[in-house]
Structure formats: structure tokens, C-alpha cells
Amino acid sequence: MSDNTKTTTAVADDFPQQRDGDTAPLLKVSGLAKHFPIKGGFPIKRTVGHVKAVDGVDFEVYPGESLGLVGESGCGKSTTGRLLTRLYEPTQGTIEYRGKDITRANRRELAPIRSEIQMIFQDPYASLNPRQTVGTIISGPMEINGINPPGGREKRVRELLEIVGLNPEHYNRFPHEFSGGQRQRIGVARAVALQPKLIVADEPVSALDVSIQAQVVNLLQEVQREMGIAFVFIAHDLAVVRHFSQRVAVMYLGKIVEIADRDSLYNRPRHPYTHALLSAVPEADLDADKKERIRLEGDVPSPISPPSGCRFRTRCWKAQDKCATEEPPLVQLSGSREGHLTACHFPEAGSTEARAEDIVMDPGLKAMEDDADGGAAVSKG
């Protein structure tokens, strides 16, 4: 790691602090929701319910910063990503891009914005057309937007291939000739081809092997710094998110339960779910003293009928009556740093030391056993 890298790092890390009141957010999302209808019945299909995949999320993304979205499967992080790029139509809420409401914008209104918001997908095998050459794939965005870079599209594509660490001579090759990591590089080249302002990256490295993962994370970081692109980085791997994002939002069952600067979130999590999530990460480090571990009970409840009040209460060791009746708002709690918002009635103490005491080890499993013994019909799981 050169000195040069370290300086740029410092700049990128300080970014949230540098952000003053006068910096306008690039993207502003408020009350965003997506409910997928469930069709049932015979002979006429009717809507019998809704999967509330995303159920009211608010956040902002500032120019050049990276916002991480983390959570378990089914928490709505990928749906949020697809809403931002308007691949899904939102049910409720608004998306503002550079001060302009694009929630209901039609095709023509969206056209100029499309080139500024790009997406990188998880599966490098499914997201590239197997019948197109790499050249066609990467020049696709330029062609659609009628952009003719100086020297021609082919020259630009070759440049892009070089930027993402592929051989420009491979211009005429097909996706199947590349490995998973190389394909993801092609996906990155396509996403940056139009020099977008925002990239939504949906689990961009989770399909890759460990040694390749590091290569792609480094590439994304380089791209972010050099081109000043803002990222919404969606992932389930907390370590990768911490590495890549200056700000992190934790989602659970379609809601953001906690959002903060990365240091604040990882060192002083206030929401029990964030805490549990962090403590469940297996770490390849034995020198670190055996940290206490919280074992959450069971699985994430169904998003069709999420629990009342706080959605995490069914798995929470701190839950009380209030949690079932009143939904906690996402606010800055006393003792939290500026910009650290938490949605919890009974938050964890703001420092690491104080927390160790009030953790009940594994109350979930005990409750489950009691349930099972009593023969209670907890068949939904």
C-alpha cells in the first residue's frame, strides 16, 4: 500500500464530515415503498395480499460518497436498489435525483437521467448477453444514448477495458471466454462507460472467490475515487461494506433500522439487530479475544404480514410490550453521533463496554425449546 493510496483514503473517509449544509444530496429517497401483490383464487385471479418488500425507507446519497445497504436476504435491500434505478415502479414515496422528482417520470423524462444512474449486478453470468461480444456489451450504453466519444466508440471501449484491468485485445471475445471475476470487470466497464454520477451495485462481489473478490473491490474503489462516482453498495457481507462505504444503512424486513457513518455504526451500534448482525460475523482472527456472541432466534418473519410495532421484536432479546404496539421512529438518540439514526425503543448503550452486561446469551433458542415442549403451534417458524 503506497503513501499515495493512504492520502486518497483519508479524503474519501473524511467525506461525510466535509459535507456541509450547502451540499445538495445527489439522491434523496423518502417514504419509499414497494408492495408486490400476491395473486390467488380461481377462476379469476384476485390480489389476496402483498409482500411488503420495502416499506417506507428514507435516506440520502451525496455526490461521490458510498452508502452501504446491508441486511439478510428478504430485507428489501435489492428491491430498494431496483427502485432507485426505476427497474421497479415504487408503490409509495418519492425518489429525488438532483432535486428533481423522478418517482413517476416517464420514459422520455427518464432518458437523460438513465445515463447518470447505472447498475452492477450480482451474477456475472446472467447479466451479460452470451451472444454479444464484449465490445458490443460495453458500447451498448453509448449506442443507446447516442454518444460518440472522440476517436470512436471502439477506442473508448478499449480504454475502458484497460481501466478495469482487462486486455483491450479481448474486444471481440464472448462472455463465456472469461472467468467470473473477469466478467464482473466487464460489468463494471459497462457501468462506468457513460461516466455516471451514481452506481447501484447489487452484491457485486458475493458470487466471487475470496482472492478474486479483493481484486474487484479494489477496482470498484479505484473507479469511485478517480471518477468521483457515488455508490449505493448493496451487500450482505458486513466486512466488505465497511471496507467500501463511508455510510451504512442496516435494513430489516423492508425498513431501515439504523443508519450511520461507518465508524459510528460498527463501533457503537445502538440497534440490537445491528449488534446481533455484527456479532454473528465469523472472523478469521483468533487473536481477537473471544467476543461475546448473540445468537438470534429463528428466521426473519414473513414480509407478507410483518410483526406489529417494531419488526425486529419477535427476535429481540430486549423486546417489551411497547415494542409490539408502537413503531419506533428512525431518530438520532441521545449519546449518538451526528447523523447516526436508530429506530429502537430500548437501544443499546452508546459504548462497547457497557453493552457486554445486558446481553442475554441465546434467549431465542431457549424460547424455541419451550415452545416446542409446550406443543404450541408455531408452525410458521
Binding site: 500500500m1 493510496t5 493512504k6 483514503t9 474519501a12 473517509d13 439478510e72 436476504s73 472467468s179 471475476g181 473477469q182 472467490d209 475470496v210 482472492s211 478474486i212 473478490q213 479483493a214 481484486q215 473491490v217 479494489n218 474503489q221 450482505h236 458486513l238 466486512a239 466488505v240 465497511r242 471496507h243 467500501f244 461507518r262 465508524d263 460498527y266 446481533a276 448482525l277 455484527l278 454473528a280 460475523v281 465469523p282 472472523e283 478469521a284 482472527d285 483468533l286 487473536d287 481477537a288 456472541r293 445468537r295 438470534l296 429463528g298 428466521d299 426473519v300 433458542l365 424455541m368 425449546e369 415452545d371 416446542a372 406443543g375 404450541a376 403451534a377 408455531v378 408452525s379 417458524g381
Partner: protein
């Protein structure tokens, strides 16, 4: 030794030529011991496991050399019907993808019970009772009701518990778990790993845990074997390997994972790609990607050197293991 794999070679005949998936693997596991086999895709870790279980597809696969000693008997010399008696009763396997490993048109009770009707000749009714007992044991709530349900009615974590129950059913001496938690969320992953480790302790089984995740391994394994291009490149007790890896590949892997206590800096990345198994580089297979490679690495295949420093045995297949260990 409960199980000992000796100089195993497996290859596959493909259109592009002969892919040498396993090239002389040696490892062993004792009763009550956990061996973690670590490697990236294509390192041969799963093929080795399939060969031990006797579920390798032959052809296209071919076992060209080696022995697999299970309690002193060479499994590769057994006839298929003898092998069947070992499989399931003496050793069992847990797969990554529980949904595709379970039969979607049979209830989980039927599938669990089958272990007892087929191997133990129990009646269906007794087998059903056993199935409920097993589901209780892997802490599936309301087992009595859920035994009648189908796999799709269970969540991913619960399905993996059923897989574990099935593997444990006949109390085998050895369990091979191939990426048992890779498809699960991190909170559920922790639950399943705990359960597996607990049952292993209780039944005093040998466990071979195949994974690509260095983090999962750290908590449960006693010793680790790191594989690359079909060979074991390093083997050591867990503590030693994390503290001081003796092979540049292991070191690269450890350095390339972003850790919770780091951020922002550029990650260390092992350059290049894993080799094509039909054209494994001569000498040390890792040399094209290795920062320490010298001329000797391009010509001489490094043996697994004994690098034991304290009491526990360690091995490293690197000509420059000293430099790696102390450098």
C-alpha cells in the same frame, strides 16, 4: 485415525483434455476431531469429499491412484454393495444446497424416516417417531406438526437443520459437510454452525468441514488443510495458520479478506486467476500468482515440507516456507 486419505489422484475427461482435479491429496481425521478443508472453487476440495463418500460420477471422473482408509479398510477396494452399507450408516454428508438435496414431493418425515426403514428395517410408524425425535434434536420447533410438511414449507436455515438431522440419523462416525452454511444468512449461519459443532461433540464424530470461508473455520476447526489446484499446500492447527501462515497462498487469502477492524485502504489481492486444471503450471502450481516465486518454483514441485515448530504438526508445500513463516 478414523479416516485417512493417502495420495489420492482424481481426474476428469473433458472435451478440453484431462482435468486433474485432485493431485495427490493426503489428509486424515480422528474421531471427535474437526478438519477444515479450505480452498477456492476448482481447488479439488469437493471432489476429494465426493471420492471419500463414493458419490463421484465415474465417468467422467476417474480415480487414478490412492487409498482411502476408513478404520483401516480401503474404501476404494470395496464392492459397491459393501460401500452402500458404509454410506449413510458409517459416514454421511451434508450439502450446501438443502433445497435441491431434499426430495420436494416427499414430506421431511418420510425422508428422515427412510434412513431407519432402509438401513435399520424399522416399521414406518417407528421411523416416524424417530424422525420427530431427530427434528427435536436439531431444534426445529413444533417437530410433531412439522414432520408432515414438505421441504418448500421450511426456511433455508430449517432445511439445513433437516439435512443435519438426516446425516446424524444413524449416528455415523464421520460427517462430511460441504459448504453447509454458504447459502445461509449470517445470523442463521451462526445458529447452524453452533448446532453442528454441538452435535459433533455429543456424538464424538469426525467432521470434515469443506469451506471457502476463513471466518467460519476459525471457530470450529481443530486443524486446517488448504488446497490449491488439487493439492494440499498447507496443513496446520487452526491457531498457527491464522497467526503465521507458512504458504504464500494462505497468507494471500488471509490478507485479502476485508476485516471488520479495517476500512478504506486498498485490499491485498492475489494477482491473476486460479489455474486451468487441464493445464496446471509446472513446478509449484501457485508460482504464476506468487509474489515470492523464484526459478526453482517454476521447475520443481515442492513437497509438503515438515514445518513443525511447536508440538503440533504442520506442513507447507512451499520451497520458501521459512521466509514465508518468518518474513
Amino acid at each position: 485415525m478414523l479416516l485417512e486419505v493417502r495420495d489420492l489422484h482424481v481426474e476428469f475427461h473433458t472435451r478440453d483434455g484431462v482435468a486433474k482435479a485432485v493431485n495427490g491429496v493426503n489428509y486424515g481425521v480422528d474421531a471427535g476431531e474437526t478438519l477444515a478443508v479450505l480452498g477456492e472453487s476448482g481447488s479439488g476440495k469437493s471432489v476429494t469429499a465426493q471420492t471419500i463418500m463414493g458419490i463421484l460420477d465415474v465417468p467422467p471422473g476417474r480415480i487414478t491412484a490412492g487409498e482411502i482408509l476408513f478404520e483401516g479398510r480401503d474404501l476404494l477396494k470395496l464392492k459397491e454393495d459393501e460401500r452402500r452399507k458404509v454410506r449413510g450408516a458409517e459416514m454421511a454428508m451434508i450439502f450446501q444446497d438443502a433445497l435441491s438435496s431434499l426430495n420436494p414431493v416427499l414430506t421431511v418425515g418420510d425422508q428422515l424416516g427412510e434412513m431407519f426403514t432402509v438401513h435399520r428395517g424399522m416399521s414406518r410408524k417407528d421411523a416416524r417417531a424417530k424422525a420427530v425425535e431427530l427434528m427435536d434434536r436439531v431444534r426445529i420447533p413444533a417437530a410433531r406438526e412439522r414432520v408432515k410438511q414438505y421441504p418448500h414449507q421450511f426456511s433455508g436455515g430449517m432445511r439445513q437443520r433437516i439435512m443435519i438431522a438426516m446425516a446424524m440419523a444413524l449416528e455415523p462416525k464421520l460427517i462430511i459437510a460441504d459448504e453447509p452454511t454458504t447459502a445461509l444468512d449470517v445470523t442463521v449461519q451462526a445458529q447452524v454452525m453452533d448446532l453442528l459443532a454441538e452435535l459433533q461433540r455429543e456424538l464424538h464424530m469426525g467432521l470434515i468441514l469443506i469451506t471457502h470461508d476463513l471466518g467460519v473455520v476459525a471457530d470450529v476447526a481443530d486443524k486446517i488443510a488448504v488446497m490449491y489446484a488439487g493439492r494440499i499446500v498447507e496443513t496446520a492447527p487452526v491457531h498457527d495458520i491464522y497467526k503465521a501462515p507458512a504458504h504464500p497462498y494462505t497468507r494471500g487469502l488471509l490478507e485479502s479478506i476485508p476485516r471488520l477492524d479495517q476500512k478504506g485502504q486498498e485490499l491485498y489481492a492475489i494477482k491473476g486467476l486460479p489455474p486451468n486444471l487441464t493445464r496446471i503450471p509446472p513446478g509449484c502450481a501457485f508460482h504464476p500468482r506468487c509474489p515470492m516465486a523464484q526459478d526453482v518454483c517454476r521447475t520443481d514441485v515442492p513437497p509438503l515440507y515438515d514445518v513443525t515448530e511447536s508440538d503440533a504438526e504442520r506442513g507447507s508445500a512451499c520451497h520458501f516456507w521459512r521466509e514465508c513463516l518468518h518474513g
